[in-house]
Symmetry: C2
Subunit: 557 residues, 2 copies
């Protein structure tokens, strides 16, 4: 029998790489998850992207083709490969093909400007970029100053996409590029599980973005944690409402693959496509910021729509308002609230539900679920500390900074030891988020340090004010920031989007809030209109603040 006739799973385990390792040790790498799913779910649909469907066997073959083509193109261990793409099978394959040869994936936010993207590709020193031709105008200006040697288009560029673009580097298409590679599995290109697997640039609101380094070990453990807390199995179907460039999709790129579940790509977060795919592909899981949930709840095909099967949703980025929880759960969603940062591979904590809370009333349950919670199963280390690194009292009232440590914390900022040392001071990672520790060990964020409003010497949590505004029946979305005030230094102002057809005046909302929270915390002004958002649906408060503070100096950072 020829070796070539063997099924892929036999080739995987017969590779020579194993001969160089102890019998009782494998590197913790998410690439092992792909290998297992090729073995267990070889003929099952691994990824659905529009009309294309690839089995795990095919996903593996395409990832190995990409890996060997990159290697043949001179890319090796530690080299960076940038990615600028919609959620797609190519983006997913890059999460396996690039690290397979020990190279490092730099998945870039497609909503950034050409200037920001130019900075990132130069800073990370990427030698190649995989990009959708829609982003030709974004990538082209940065090429001359970069180390990029080639551009790999995920599809043939159309005249309208980059016809006017002069590329300073040779380009090819993804499919023709990987056709030059071999579909055969080969050895993993790292020899230390703490080698980097990806760099994710933070969307820093001040200064230049920083490159957060993930390791194979960290990505492996976080992916397992996501599988556990989302309750995924081989029968799950995951809809990609979260961008893959966002913390590598909170490591679901690797986690969904670990479970042998199905990836359903979604290039743009559009209600019609979401509901179509939920119905047609049997979606069981998705992730998104509360604003994505608001959109899903608001754009349901009918008023009393229910998902055709239980839909598990993990939400993060902001605490889900009680009304949003109630509406999405009424549609048949099982909502889990998580919290984390790019520096913690995405979620680090989860509002883990306790069976003893089942009997509580809806308001109390929503309050409990809106807390950021406790560490993931693989990432329990979590504190709220004062400036001397002492724990604040676990009284649910005293504010401190949320800090984490352990296998879920980044390796460091790429080429920025100063920023790394600062973030790691005192032996813990400093989130920059302010919160309280409840007596039961659950944390609750009060604010980003820079979001807190100091009004007449009193701290005001914008989250608390937002919760009051959200409770108004006409409010669809709200964001509160501190704005300059001659008397108080700063005061809260609410930016509000009303529900379609609903109406309310600024005075209505202010009066409503003053009944719910202390008068000094209620907004002093309300402005109506759409809210500025990031690609993940997170409200960009800094844009609101910048507008209000233009020409003035803010007393706090």
């Amino acid at each position: 029998m020829l070796e070539l006739d063997r099924p892929t799973f036999q080739k995987l385990w017969a590779r020579e790489q194993w001969d160089q390792m102890p019998v009782n040790r494998s590197l913790l790498s998410p690439l092992m998850f792909l290998e297992r799913s090729i073995h267990v779910y070889g003929d099952k649909d691994a990824v659905v992207d529009g009309e294309r469907r690839y089995s795990y066997e095919e996903l593996g073959a395409r990832a190995y083709r990409l890996a060997s083509a990159l290697r043949a193109a001179g890319i090796g261990k530690g080299d960076r490969v940038a990615l600028l793409a919609y959620n797609s099978d190519e983006a997913l394959e890059a999460h396996f093909g690039v690290p397979q040869i020990g190279a490092v994936l730099v998945a870039i936010n497609i909503r950034l400007s050409a200037d920001e993207i130019g900075y990132i590709v130069a800073h990370c020193g990427a030698k190649a970029v995989i990009a959708h031709p829609d982003f030709a105008q974004l990538i082209a200006p940065g090429l001359p100053a970069s180390n990029i040697e080639r551009v790999i288009w995920t599809s043939e560029p159309k005249q309208t996409q980059n016809g006017a673009v002069e590329l300073a580097r040779p380009s090819t298409t993804y499919d023709s590029f990987i056709a030059t590679g071999s579909p055969e599995p080969f050895a993993l290109g790292i020899d230390d599980e703490e080698d980097p697997i990806s760099i994710n640039y933070t969307s820093g609101t001040t200064g230049r973005p920083k490159g957060v380094m993930y390791t194979h070990r960290g990505a492996y453990l976080n992916a397992l944690g996501e599988v556990y807390h989302a309750g995924m199995t081989g029968d799950s179907v995951y809809l990609w409402t979260l961008p893959m460039f966002h913390c590598n999709g909170w490591c679901y790129t690797w986690g969904v693959t670990a479970a042998g579940a199905r990836h359903v790509a979604l290039p743009r977060v559009e209600p019609k496509a979401i509901f179509d795919l939920i119905e047609r592909e049997g979606v069981t899981h998705l992730c998104g910021a509360p604003t994505v949930l608001v959109m899903i709840a608001n754009e349901a095909p009918s008023k009393d729509y229910r998902f055709p099967r239980p839909l598990r949703i993990v939400t993060a980025g902001a605490p889900p308002p009680p009304t949003v929880i109630a509406r999405i759960e009424a549609m048949g969603a099982i909502l889990t609230h998580a919290y984390g940062l790019t520096e913690t591979y995405g979620p680090h904590t989860v509002s883990e539900w306790q069976i003893k809370w089942n009997g509580k009333d809806a308001e109390e349950r929503a309050r409990l679920k809106a807390r950021q919670g406790v560490g993931y199963i693989h990432a329990p280390e979590l504190r709220v500390v004062d400036e001397h690194m002492s724990d604040v009292p676990a009284d649910g009232a005293t504010m401190g900074e949320v800090v984490m440590r352990g296998n879920n914390v980044m390796k460091g900022y790429f080429n920025d030891p100063t920023a790394t040392d600062k973030a790691f001071r005192g032996g813990w990672f400093h989130s920059g988020d302010l919160g309280v520790m409840h007596p039961d060990g659950y944390i609750e964020l009060r604010d980003r340090a820079k979001d807190i409003i100091i009004s007449g010497g009193e701290n005001i949590s914008t989250i608390e004010v937002e919760r009051a505004v959200y409770a108004h029946p006409a409010v669809l979305e709200a964001a509160v920031v501190g704005v300059p005030d001659e008397k108080w230094g700063e005061v809260p102002k609410a930016f509000v989007t009303l529900k379609p057809g609903a109406s309310a005046t600024a005075e209505d909302i202010i009066a409503f809030c003053r009944e719910k929270i202390a008068h000094f915390k209620a907004p002093k002004a309300v402005e109506f209109g759409p809210l500025p958002k990031t690609s993940t649906g997170k409200v960009q408060k800094f844009k609101l603040r910048e507008k209000e503070w233009a020409g003035k100096e803010k007393r706090i950072n």
Copy 2:
């Protein structure tokens, strides 16, 4: 605020041990799972043992008391502590308290003889033993030749238990011993996650038992794997039908704790106690050999009994016969079939169910479920190889040896490099089990190398013959071994236990089998009576063989 007033979870994360470690790295140790569950589920019942109920906060405090008392008694990193106990809260606590100080737990099978136990405590060099007084007669003879300095009785010995026993070492009771320790959390006593956490002696059928070393890293990963494949969550309730001394309860001692689920101790596998606890404690999960399932199915409180809620059962030790699968599933069990060895931390493979099989008929589904399957999520590396370490064809027919590697393989045999090298030859762990690789990547055992029958030059799988015998409606349990035969060298003989009230002759059963399988494979003789079993309910075929082969030389090992 005094530090002493802080809740335990704050003390855990404020320990100095973290200062000595990188911010982004924690040791993979199952002790981290206890720490998380103290934090998340501090006030929830962690363990139920008869009338006693301890919360996770109390379980932690008792484990830390044990740890600090052991340290005060001169036990330190790398020292071994033996355990000879029923499934109990003390046995569970030992799985945390002993490794907390870096010591190594040696949980010994309580069904062994005094001679075997004497060998094990001498071989492992344990400095202390925690034992139930029921086993005083078993432990006493080995003390003089051991390094044991003290005996810790799990309860006050009664006159009838060890009144006649002269102990060569001082003794104390567990509760008074741990009362001398501190309930405060303290630093983990290892600095390498590949340090040993436990040694589990194999119940070798030939020669002396070998001490299988588990590491903190291996136990951590396997525990997570068990949580995933058993579908455990914080709401789960686990009944201890599997002995904790068996591969540390397949690492469920640590896995149940990882999920923050509830341990329900069961000192003896008795049907009445099992059904009482299933009803009263809301049991959702248990593990056991197929013989345990047979007992549960046979001794149900009523003929049409159904479990009060879905009960997930993981079975291993032998493939579950189709009739057993059908009966236990009709009672509302969700059955998962796993396979492994002491050397692989318990289960390494699982008959992972594929949604595409749901439409198949009952017989085909039972056949698929009875296969040993594919590697666990954290342990995918699995092959079936010939004597040259080449994969046998994946044709479901060609037999080879099942081999594994990776994080789920033992560190080695304690103080036995020769046996370790032999087991690890060719870079893989050799299971000694013979099986086939199906085209879909699932393995199916045909036999232990030593269980295979070679009759007239033809290989006969005793499992295949047993499956035929099991299909007879009067048969409750069956085991088949090769017995000496002048003409054929050896021939199959069946040992059978009939169902209560059922009757069948040897001729009936032989004729029945000859209709199902090749004539040369059908048993040539049938003997009726109870089957000899291990403490885990596994049939001890070697005892049947020994009886038949007494005075004769078997041609194969």
